[in-house]
């Protein structure tokens, strides 16, 4: 079922604002993993502004849903979402990467309010999600743990150790999302280290796989609704995305895996984002 038009528009507006902030963060921080941040905007928007049962006033609330950004290098995409959701003032994003700032290229959960796990070394998040899933079951808590991974990250063997264990332990309370933008630092995933048949690999590891266009809120909504209802089989949402999404000259461009931006570049990027929005 499609989202009501008003709800879809609300989420699209949030996504647009987040993209603009991410471009600012790229400038303020002196450089950011902008491509892989722009590709997860819709995923983060629908999670933080529709699905996650969280309360910014109680960041340590023990019944909250947990979110782990396993592709921690996308902190420039993730931390603005926490700010927008009300965990801290957006103004503080100007300190990104600067001396003493809570915000760095990779998120630190002991410094960033609302952040559930420190991550950045790839292939670690899903194991922690499995631990949280087992812990929730043990403590009879109803919360979900969502782990967002990069596709290139899935070259790490530890991802598959964790994948195997999530299905073995029948963790319907763990939801995996892979940002399938098909690019990694050195090029196309299929050229550097082929992942395909990617969905089949997850299925073979015991996961139910739902493939979606990761920029379409209706599809994400349907997938998340199904994932939220899972009981004893973990669900993997394979979100097909475009790296650099929303900024025409960054889209599918490996040069913008990590980039810094002067004011002219940022202006161009924002103009592109806004023109898409209007178009």
């Amino acid at each position: 079922m499609a989202l009501p038009a008003e709800e879809r528009q609300r989420l699209q507006d949030i996504a647009c604002e987040l993209r603009l902030t991410m471009v600012d963060v790229m400038a303020w921080s002196g450089g950011a993993h902008i491509g892989g941040s722009l590709s997860i905007v819709e995923v983060l928007s629908i999670l933080y502004f529709k699905y996650l049962n969280i309360d910014p006033k109680r960041p340590d609330w023990e019944d909250r849903d947990r979110f782990i950004l396993s592709k921690g290098h996308a902190a420039a995409g993730y931390i603005p979402v926490l700010a927008k959701r009300g965990y801290f003032l957006e103004e503080t994003l100007k300190t990104f990467n600067h001396f003493g700032s809570p915000f760095a290229m990779h998120p630190d959960c002991n410094k960033v309010v609302g952040c559930d796990a420190s991550a950045g070394s790839l292939g670690h998040g899903l194991s922690m999600a499995v631990g949280l899933g087992l812990g929730a079951r043990k403590l009879k808590k109803a919360y979900k743990t969502i782990c967002l991974m990069g596709d290139g990250e899935c070259c790490e063997g530890s991802v598959w150790e964790a994948a195997m264990s999530a299905s073995h332990f029948k963790l319907g309370n763990v939801i995996g999302i892979v940002d399938r933008n098909r690019l990694m630092i050195d090029g196309m995933t299929e050229d550097v280290m082929a992942l395909e048949p990617f969905a089949d690999k997850w299925r073979a590891f015991g996961w139910e796989v739902i493939e979606v266009n990761g920029h379409e809120f209706d599809e994400l909504d349907a997938a998340l609704e199904k994932a939220w209802a899972a009981t004893d089989v973990p669900v993997l949402i394979l979100a097909h995305t475009v790296k650099g999404k929303g900024v025409d000259f960054m889209e599918n461009n490996v040069l913008y895996h990590y980039a810094s931006g002067d004011s002219a570049l940022c202006d161009r990027a924002k103009a592109s984002i806004l023109s898409r929005e209007e178009g």
């Binding site: 194991s127 499995v130 812990g135």
Partner: protein
């Protein structure tokens, strides 16, 4: 830091069990009192003896298969959920295979995961170097937030396991394969993480040691007293980090000769930790590190290896005699005017 005086149950006879068995039983007993305790292993349920806990609390125990990296990541997640996970595997896998998960998922996030690393040092000698672990002190010492413990025997393992339950930080407890003879005759002594235990007073030389070396050092000290008339003190430095600085400085003051002994590479372990305290104190002291001299050891059963590498009482006697034969030399180039 809580002081553990005696074990408060008597379900076992420590003298007939390996340190691993005592660990497993201690954990099971603790878990009866504390619902937050959970256990996790990577296909070493029997080998690490966490089975005693697993059998009693099957719904609080997780075996992840042969996947140590996943095990420590899951342990971090369990700790995030509010539980106290005890993770058991062999020392070589805990400190090297999964070192990054230990460092980044557990120590960096400062989660109360308790790592019980078995088969440490060269205790599994005949398994070959793949299963030895003579690097773990160095690795674990260098990780912020991590406490590093090496108990002298099974009784002390039980004490260390009890003492670490309520610390808010990660703890690494390193034990051997478990066939080492017991060092303590009774559990009637006070144990505190970070506070060394004087096993024997001495005035000529102090041996600062840990793990299996403690009993051997005590036996060596007895021999040296009887045959050489030497007064050799023995300090059980069961906590490698944080090191008990006061105990080291007391030994410097009392004997001015210190010999460290460890079942570990002499680089980065107990000896280096003690050396740092002495060097930074500015006090003069004759000092020698004894352990494994930056080598992968030969193949053999543990007791043969301990004898070969002079980690047994005879070897320690020789090392002490060497040190006692050395002279403090005046340095002709030294000018302190």
């Amino acid at each position: 830091m809580s002081v553990v005086t005696g074990t408060n149950w008597n379900a076992y006879d420590a003298s007939t069990m390996t340190a691993r068995e005592i660990y497993g039983r201690t954990l099971a007993a603790l878990a009866e009192q504390d619902d937050r305790i959970v256990g996790i292993t990577a296909d070493l349920e029997k080998t690490t003896a966490i089975k005693y806990f697993a059998d009693m609390f099957p719904d609080r125990f997780y075996n992840v298969g042969i996947a140590e990296q996943n095990m420590f990541g899951i342990a971090a997640g369990l700790a995030k959920a509010g539980l106290i996970p005890f993770a058991s595997t062999m020392a070589v896998f805990a400190s090297l295979r999964a070192a990054e998960q230990v460092r980044t998922d557990i120590a960096y996030q400062n989660l109360p995961v308790k790592i019980i690393a078995t088969h440490a040092g060269i205790s599994f000698g005949h398994a070959g170097t793949t299963h030895h672990c003579t690097e773990d002190f160095a690795v674990m010492r260098a990780i912020p937030n991590m406490t590093v413990i090496c108990p002298a025997d099974g009784i002390e393992t039980s004490k260390a396991v009890q003492a670490c339950v309520n610390t808010p930080d990660p703890v690494y407890i390193r034990i051997g394969r478990g066939f080492e003879p017991p060092c303590y005759e009774s559990d009637d002594y006070e144990y505190e993480i970070g506070r060394a235990i004087t096993m024997r007073e001495g005035t000529d030389l102090t041996i600062i040691c840990c793990g299996i070396a403690v009993l051997q050092a005590i036996n060596a000290a007895k021999t040296l007293e009887e045959s050489d008339g030497l007064s050799v003190g023995v300090v059980n430095m069961h906590t490698i980090k944080p090191i008990d600085r006061e105990a080291v400085l007391r030994a410097v003051n009392d004997t001015r000769r210190i010999l460290t002994i460890e079942e570990h590479n002499v680089l980065g372990g107990l000896g280096d930790a003690v050396a740092s305290v002495i060097a930074e104190s500015g006090k003069g002291c004759m000092f020698k590190k004894h352990g494994l001299e930056d080598i992968f050891v030969t193949i053999g059963y543990a007791e043969d290896l301990y004898a070969h590498y002079q980690l047994d009482a005879n070897g320690i006697v020789d090392k002490v005699r060497e040190m006692m034969g050395m002279e403090y030399e005046e340095d002709e180039n030294w000018d302190d005017d």
